[in-house]
């Protein structure tokens, strides 16, 4: 039989049952990523424990003193994760007390100090949101944009160029121009592989990787030559104050307008993808290019369009980092944001709102990790391990289902049998 469906119409499924299935499906789509994160943290805990010399020593004496081994393990893990989450979110008690002091005395120092970790987490999340959206838009069109890293870098350079080159214009012109410059630079970097794919069928994975290398080497040259600030280091000059994304609080809190801008962008992308004919076309091409062609949709146009949007978002990511946080660009500026964004888009199921949540998680882990390193002496790389594990579990939900004995709901089951025997 052509389509071997387990599902059948003749014993007609009852309406309420299928509604229950719908709810179960919705719940699972939330539960599985959460369990993936949990499992990632759990395995991360094991890694932390075995990489701690004291714990290993205590376990060597396990039969003499089992309690000590367990206590040492617990101490290592709780110190590490305590520092991680403390560094990421701050202490709720301190925040409440700081707020009280502020209300009663008007003195804000304590409050600012208390919300500093939170501010850092959101600041770190900001470029992740933009870059995650970039990769997600590509995924929705069936394109794997590995070039977010290069587009991020080009966007940062574009924004910096507008930022330091134009002087004496008011902020409400300068800032949008700088953002636009960054978005345009990223868009061009995305459009090239998009066009190559549409016109010549060259695979976007290969081309976006190549474009990354071109971006890195081009930036080396720019930072040592045309865009170099006076001095020894290969960095751009500081951008003008009128191009900065304004900060909400006084130093050292770096939370700035980039964060709400990222949330707004996520909403705009949601609107574009799901509420407009443009998004309908992109999603159709991504979900079934044959059906898209059948329906008269121009696939080539949508490939290029999706890559332009994707590149622009990655460019904005770099811009937000320059204009809101660093104010200048140096070598190695991109620091893996573009690559992490692939993981974020996967974790967020390529849905803008999911991307925001995944980006918040990554931002939190990243900013907490700095503190974990200084407080608990755990290398920052443990976060990369946890992130990697989470991605594996999200990409292979069967593992999580098996670990926690979660049954797949019908409909997903049919996927197993569909096409069997073709």
């Amino acid at each position: 039989m052509k389509d071997q469906k387990v599902k059948d119409t003749s014993p007609k499924p009852k309406e309420n049952k299928s509604l229950a299935q719908e709810i179960a499906a919705g719940w699972q789509s939330l539960l599985l990523p959460l369990l993936a994160i949990f499992t990632g943290l759990l395995i991360g805990a094991i890694v932390i424990a075995v990489s701690d010399a004291k714990v290993v020593e205590a376990w060597a004496q396990f039969f003499q003193a089992p309690g000590a081994a367990l206590a040492a393990t617990w101490k290592a893990i709780s110190t590490a994760y305590g520092a991680l989450f403390g560094g990421a979110l701050g202490s709720p008690k301190a925040i409440v007390e700081g707020f009280r002091t502020y209300v009663s005395t008007g003195e804000s120092t304590d409050l600012l100090k208390a919300i500093y970790p939170l501010s850092e987490s959101l600041t770190t999340s900001t470029p992740y949101i933009f870059a995650g959206l970039a990769v997600a838009v590509g995924f929705r069109c069936g394109l794997f944009n590995i070039g977010a890293e290069g587009q991020f870098f080009m966007g940062a350079l574009g924004a910096a160029f507008v930022g330091y080159n134009m002087r004496g214009i008011p902020w409400f012109i300068h800032l949008p121009l700088a953002l636009l410059g960054g978005a345009a630079a990223g868009a061009i970097w995305g459009a090239i592989p998009g066009y190559l794919k549409a016109r010549f069928g060259a695979h976007e994975v290969v081309n976006t990787i190549m474009m990354n290398w071109i971006a890195f080497r081009l930036s080396d040259w720019l930072l040592n030559g045309p865009m170099k600030a006076s001095g020894f280091r290969p960095v751009t000059p500081n951008i003008d104050q009128t191009a900065e994304l304004p900060r909400f609080f006084a130093d050292p809190l770096r939370l700035n307008w980039g964060f709400p801008l990222a949330l707004l962008t996520a909403y705009l992308i949601y609107w574009l993808l799901f509420k407009t004919t443009i998004g309908f076309e992109i999603r159709t091409v991504g979900a079934n290019p044959d059906a898209a062609r059948y329906a008269g949709i121009n696939i080539i146009k949508n490939f290029v369009l999706a890559m332009v949007i994707s590149g622009a978002l990655a460019g904005l990511s770099g811009s937000a980092q320059v204009l809101g946080v660093d104010h200048w660009v140096g070598q190695g500026f991109s620091a893996g944001y573009g690559f992490d964004s692939i993981a974020i888009a996967l974790l967020g199921k390529s849905h803008p709102f999911g991307v925001v949540l995944a980006a918040l998680l990554f931002g939190t882990l990243r900013s907490g990790a700095t503190r974990m390193q200084s407080m608990a002496g755990i290398p920052i790389d443990i976060i990369s391990i946890i992130q990697g594990l989470v991605i594996i579990f999200v990409a292979a939900p069967a593992i999580i289902r098996w670990l926690y004995r979660i049954k797949a709901i019908s409909g997903e089951q049919t996927v197993l049998t569909r096409g069997w025997g073709k």
Partner: protein, 520 residues
Amino acid sequence: MPVLELRGITKSFPGVLANDNIDLTLEKGEIHALLGENGAGKTTLMNILYGLYKPDEGEVLVNDQPVSIEDPNDAIEHGIGMVHQHFMLVPVMTVTENVMIGNETTRNRIFLDHDAVSKRIREISDQYGLEVDPNAYIKDLPVGIQQRVEIIKVLYRQADILILDEPTAVLTPQEVKGLFKIVHSLVDTGKSIIFITHKLKEVLEIADRITVLRGGRVVGTTIAGQVDENKLAAMMVGREVNLIVEKKLAKPQELMLEVHDLYVRDEREHLTVNGVSFDVRAGEVLGIAGVQGNGQTELVYALTGLLPAVSGSIRISGTDIHKSTPRQILEQGVAHIPEDRQKHGLVLSFPIYDNLILCNYYLSPFARGVNLQEKTITSNGLELVKQFDVRTPSPSLPASKLSGGNQQKVIVAREFSRPIKLLIAAQPTRGLDVGSIEYIHSRIIQKRDEGTAVVVVSSELDEIIALSDRIAVMYRGQIMDIVQAGEITKEQLGLLMAGVHLSEEEKKAKKPATVVERVF
């Protein structure tokens, strides 16, 4: 003593009871037909027997011994072999190599022993009349011969019980006859056969006993001599079925589609449509008959803009469209029911209501500017689902959750709800159940009577005969002949499909124009 017995087989998938307490016995030397609509549970049952699924309850007995079949290797060990509808052959390998795969005979445990296997293949083909050249490459063989290779594969593994899954779906009438001869020679030597199908005529022709499944249950088992098509159809569907497409004589009007000297290359650059000319008038149905793979697919692709024409012209109401894009052709008022509904016809992950606007999402009232009008889209979905009898709890479910018949109804609903003047329906009822076939056929005739020009491409002769006013037969990219539907017999069509031109006497042996029966 039965060679095979299934007792109380029950298998449920979340939300669906696919097999409900099924009993089945297969006697030695028997041809036992398993009849049922898509989704009746035939395939699930056979997959259990072949070790691909585990039953929730029930047991399988081979030669009165309870056996546990965990995977296909167990099944083969117990002498159960399966010939799948979609062949499991490697096209770039020879017959011998394909037969060896998974069961390689070797010399010195390293070198493949082609000769021994070829010899065994020759023995098998002599014994059962399965003529095939062991050194031929699969890709060079016609479908009918490929099927023989599949049967040889099973016999080579010494199966005594053969499961044939929809074996006639891809064959010409002549090839079907050949297959039936082989099946008879198999049972003559003591093999037993389970023959899965949804075609009533075949069942009556070949089977000794018939078991009908519906909704996962056994409706009944009868002996072939005791039933007729109507009765079987009623058992399958659960109600009386209208086996005849009721239609008035066509009233052809103005020329709608003119195809002149059309040449098309397929995606692998083979010239598959080789100088085809025909025309279709408004209010008539032109059936294009032919065995699959004789250029019909590419012809339809060219008509709908999915493949470019190499040369020739295609005119719709006088406008040449052979260089137009799919969208320009759609906007000319062309509806297309594609051959492969899951590849071209639907975006399976999209909700049903989005699939219902796949071709006109950008037009009013579904879009205003770039803004999709969600309310209109969902209410359109609700209305069409009701109007076209798509069985689903909600139009917001993804199309992947529908059965094949209901998926096809979604496509028909979408295409028929647009203003159209030309309908191109490729294999419109392939793999569908009797009820859906009945429904889709009546809708197509209704469109014809409203003045739409209709092209029906089908490899099911009975469908062609039931729907067409005129019939064109395609063979190797060319049209063998175009005839009036009432003036040709099924046998004559079969000859044309096999590339044999009819002699003058044969043409004169006219068949009186009668209402034509639909067969499944």
